[in-house]
């Protein structure tokens, strides 16, 4: 959780048991550099601490992930994104919107990618179930595994 990592083919990147968090992958097809960020929360401006870990928030994790990918030789204008996660595991009526943190994570990720002009070419988001995702840097495939909802390749 709240981590990010870039890698190059033939490696793959994996994150286990995504619930309300969102897995954001970026890929540069030419250099075969891929990146995966595990976003926990939508908005870094609500952080109570100034020296927060940038990997936690949608609006900061994508920036630091891109930087790491650039160091591995990727180019930003070739990057495309696939996203998965952002589920609402429990259905409870609540006076504030904390129950919908998954949905808000997804929206924040979409906004951020849009700002950066990075296209989302596939997504598997929301719903009420957990996901384990694996991203393959060799061809940009994203495997989404679930319990009881099958496996999908994006």
């Amino acid at each position: 959780m709240a981590e990010y990592k870039a890698a190059k083919s033939p490696y793959s990147l994996i994150t286990l048991g995504l619930g309300s968090c969102v897995g954001v992958t970026l890929y540069d097809n030419l250099t075969k550099v891929g990146g995966l960020a595990h976003v926990m929360l939508p908005d870094s401006t609500l952080s109570g601490k100034k020296d927060y870990n940038p990997g936690k928030f949608a609006d900061t994790a994508i920036d630091v992930l891109i930087e790491e990918m650039l160091r591995l030789g990727a180019s930003k204008n070739r990057m495309v994104s696939k996203i998965a996660g952002g589920a609402q595991m429990f259905q409870i009526k609540s006076e504030n919107n904390i129950m919908q943190i998954g949905k808000r994570n997804v929206e924040a990720v979409r906004n951020k990618l849009n700002q950066l002009n990075i296209r989302i070419i596939a997504e598997d988001v929301e719903g009420n179930y957990g996901r384990t995702i694996e991203f393959f840097c060799e061809d940009g495939r994203l495997a989404v595994r679930t319990i009881g909802h099958g496996t999908r390749i994006l």
Partner: protein
């Protein structure tokens, strides 16, 4: 971060709640229930799912929201096999160990959550004189990481660790285990300590104005 006195006080809060909840659970199942001393955990997010067997482990989760004078979450986590056993006891019927729970079984587990959660919160409320309400429970059967991450992720705004009180209940004969997590919202921790007369310094809460 917290003094020994504060940790003791929080452990005691956990103990009182868990004692009551164990009695209720024992009456519901007509079985002997033992509880471990509640543990106060202030740990990185990733480590929480380790305590129930890793992020991909299949578990049943029952979630309830506490509101009123303090706010927080209750999450009961039951390993897959133990959840099957529990439904057998609750419904007094043998079942096949398959993937899915029937609606009947889900509602039996929800009711168990309701009873355990309510008795815990009632004890907490009696002890602290705080007015507390508890939501209806919600059920999920999925990967532990996905189930646990939600109530913890809100701690992400104040740091890189989660705060929770973890109590393990074990049923006598079959050794059914369930984890009971009390996860108070960050501001509520101080209120909780104040309510039982433990004076604290303001540690961690700054500038969030209750926004989540």
């Amino acid at each position: 971060m917290y003094s020994d006195l504060e940790m003791d006080a929080l452990r005691e809060i956990g103990n009182i709640g868990a004692g009551n909840a164990a009695t209720a659970l024992s009456m519901l199942l007509c079985k002997k229930i033992t509880i471990k001393v509640p543990q106060i955990k202030i740990i990185p997010f990733d480590e929480v799912s380790q305590s129930v067997g890793g992020p991909e482990k299949l578990v049943a989760g029952i979630f309830m929201r506490i509101s009123g004078d303090i706010e927080g979450n209750i999450l009961i986590v039951i390993p897959e096999i133990d959840a099957y056993h529990l439904t057998e006891i609750l419904l007094n019927a043998k079942r096949e160990n398959g993937m899915d729970f029937s609606e009947m079984e889900k509602s039996a587990l929800l009711e168990l959550g309701n009873i355990v959660g309510s008795s815990y919160v009632t004890a907490l409320s009696d002890f602290t004189k705080l007015s507390l309400k508890i939501s209806v429970p919600s059920f999920a059967f999925d990967m532990a990481g996905a189930i646990i991450s939600f109530p913890l992720s809100l701690y992400g705004y104040i740091g890189d660790t989660a705060f929770l009180i973890d109590t393990e209940f074990t049923e006598g004969l079959d050794g059914i285990r369930l984890h009971y997590f009390l996860i108070p919202d960050d501001k509520s921790l101080q209120l909780l300590l104040k309510a039982i007369g433990v004076n604290t310094v303001e540690h961690i809460n700054q500038s969030r104005n209750g926004r989540i």
